[in-house]
């Protein structure tokens, strides 16, 4: 049986720091993938760099466009 009272989660400073490092690495590789997707999609001029949400939306439009061309 699980206890009804919620135990407060005790987390050490070392655990928190390790979690922060993991999260930074995760975000870094996610942002690298975003950069690669930016390169595949039109308008890759660095001054007009697409935001992450814009990159996603443009990828959606671009893929749909190419699939329509295949018909």
């Amino acid at each position: 049986f699980s206890s009804k009272a919620k135990r407060r989660r005790i987390i050490t400073v070392v655990q928190r720091q390790a979690a922060n490092v993991r999260e930074r690495k995760r975000m870094f590789s996610l942002n690298e993938a975003f950069d690669e997707l930016r390169r595949k999609v039109p308008t890759f001029a660095y001054e007009k760099r697409l935001s992450r949400i814009e990159t996603l939306r443009l990828a959606i439009i671009y893929i749909s466009f190419m699939m329509d061309l295949l018909e």
Binding site: L37, L56, I60, I63, M66, L69
Partner: protein, 99 residues
Amino acid sequence: MTLTSDQTLLWTETTSSMGLGGRMPSQSREERRRRRRATPKYRCAHASRERVRVVAFNVAFAELRKLLPILPPDKKLSKIEILRLAIRYISYLSHVLDV
């Protein structure tokens, strides 16, 4: 004698706090901004805006996922997987179209 950038920053913040240089209010622009942002009302509104932003972000990921030819079509993919598959799929499509 030229001021370092740290000295310049200290000088402008001090004089603008003191109301010199034509600035009547006692707070600098930065301090006013901090005051405004510290209120619970602002924080609440900001959290709301952030939730909306995150939802839109996740919706875009879902829409992109729908276009990717992965079986089964309802298979859950992580964000990084969706991005990597989209990259490969775009390469494939443009290759097919270029022939």
